[in-house]
Symmetry: C2
Subunit: 284 residues, 2 copies
């Protein structure tokens, strides 16, 4: 009850987040694997300790107060920070250290071999494990599953990450070989108005399930069901039945190496330096 008590247990945070997301004590309790009454009590106790009403219950429905909304947001990031701490600690305790790099299949602008070679030539270089993911690379760095990731700005969100720019690329439209625009030397975004979505990969095409992998997207393009605008470096790896045409006014994309800020690992610093150097050397 001391008002100066400025901390809260992660269990309480997790309980509140569950209730705030479900807006239903029973479901939240089931999701947490506990009974409903203890959960009600825990939330009341949390409200008492914070001196703030978090939820408005009117016996039929549960809604968030302003304070509850901020605790949902902030509590989420706090919980993420805690489990990131746990994961990074576990990784740091492994007997044989290594670096985990998250990359996107075909999304490395063919820089990966040079980067790995440059780092491997560093004295004391650790083995590097590559893990591929299309959409989770940023999250993997943030939550400690990976030490670093290759990301595309501004398509991907870089908040909370430290970054090193590797390569600025213009973009190309990927079209089926027989498309009316496929023969053009250059396009503008306006030329693509009315073309079937998704213009941007990882958007949800109408009536289709989420695109999980670039092969699916390219297949859709080949079928004439989609048009993709992607960094020009993937032109080197297009399937035979699609073509890439430069889009003059598409915003340039930057390939960056991202890692968690606050990290001061010797190995990671060396890797970042090697990657920057490799990117610099392979620039025309």
């Amino acid at each position: 009850m001391t008002p100066g008590d400025d901390t809260v247990e992660t269990r309480e945070l997790a309980y509140f987040v569950a209730v705030a997301e479900e807006l239903h004590f029973g479901r939240a309790a089931r999701r947490l694997g506990i009974a409903q009454p203890p959960l009600s009590r825990a939330i009341q106790q949390l409200e008492r300790r914070l001196g703030v009403r978090l939820l408005e219950r009117d016996h039929r429905t549960v809604t968030l107060t302003d304070a509850g909304a901020t605790l949902l947001r902030e509590g989420h990031t706090a919980l993420a920070a805690v489990s990131a701490a746990v994961r990074r600690t576990r990784r740091a305790g492994r007997s044989e250290p290594s670096l985990v790099l998250a990359a996107k299949p075909g999304g490395d602008a063919d820089l990966l071999p040079e980067i790995l070679a440059a780092y491997a030539a560093t004295p004391g270089a650790l083995p590097v494990d590559i893990v591929f993911s299309a959409r989770e690379r940023g999250a993997m760095v943030r939550d400690g599953r990976a030490d670093a990731a290759l990301l595309h700005a501004p398509r991907e969100d870089l908040t909370g990450l430290a970054v090193e720019e590797l390569l600025v690329e213009s973009q190309v439209a990927v079209l089926p070989r027989g498309h009316r625009l496929a023969g053009r030397a250059e396009l503008s975004m306006a030329d693509l108005d009315g073309e079937p979505l998704p213009r941007w990969p990882s958007a949800v095409p109408e009536g289709f399930s989420r695109i999980a992998e670039s092969g699916q997207l390219m297949h859709l393009v080949a079928l004439g069901r989609a048009v993709a605008v992607v960094p020009e470096s993937i032109r080197a790896n297009l399937r035979h039945d699609v073509v890439g045409v430069p889009v003059a006014d598409a915003p340039p994309t930057t390939l960056v190496l991202a890692w968690p800020q606050n990290t001061r690992s010797r190995a990671l610093a060396a890797f970042v330096r090697a990657a920057a150097e490799a990117a610099r050397l392979s620039r025309p």
Copy 2:
């Protein structure tokens, strides 16, 4: 004992951080206000749960393992995230909402009145509380004591913050009126070689206590005990016995408005917009 348990209570984190900082179970226990044996047990249990050795004890001295060092770092930021969540929640629950802006005395480039006026003219504007601090403004934003702060990049660390650039300034050297360089129209950094420290405010002058406030620094300058290199905007508010001389090759300083990333408060967004607009309008 389930290895998939990916979380840790904040109490355990705080316990470990205390031990890791003190490197002494007895002192850490005293600092935490508990007895030593429960603390030993808690750390052992934490190590068991993480499956990682955090501390090396050789019956005389305690040292951190690699994993312990990362848990110290990461645990610190995780605890900070938790108490920031608590503070922001408490603030969001106040009955009469307001914005807290952290500024440095004399460090606003005289923009503050315009910014406040521009925001006050916004429909639905909240009252703005100004809190002054020379060195803690970044920390205040990070831990939820303030909603936003005026910071000087690159002098101050912006990691973990979202920022809006307000003003790029060149820098001036502040010298005693009778100084041999005081009459010059312009200096270079080389001219200041050998001048008494601190060149940069908030550095620690030899033999002096830490400078807590810019008035102290200006006093030291007047006494000929220090030379300061500061943004040119403070020239408008110099005491009579010191002068400001432009330093041609000093790196430019950027005045930024910073706020916690992940914040999506209506009021804060309006304030940022108003500040950016005010800064744009007052630019020559």
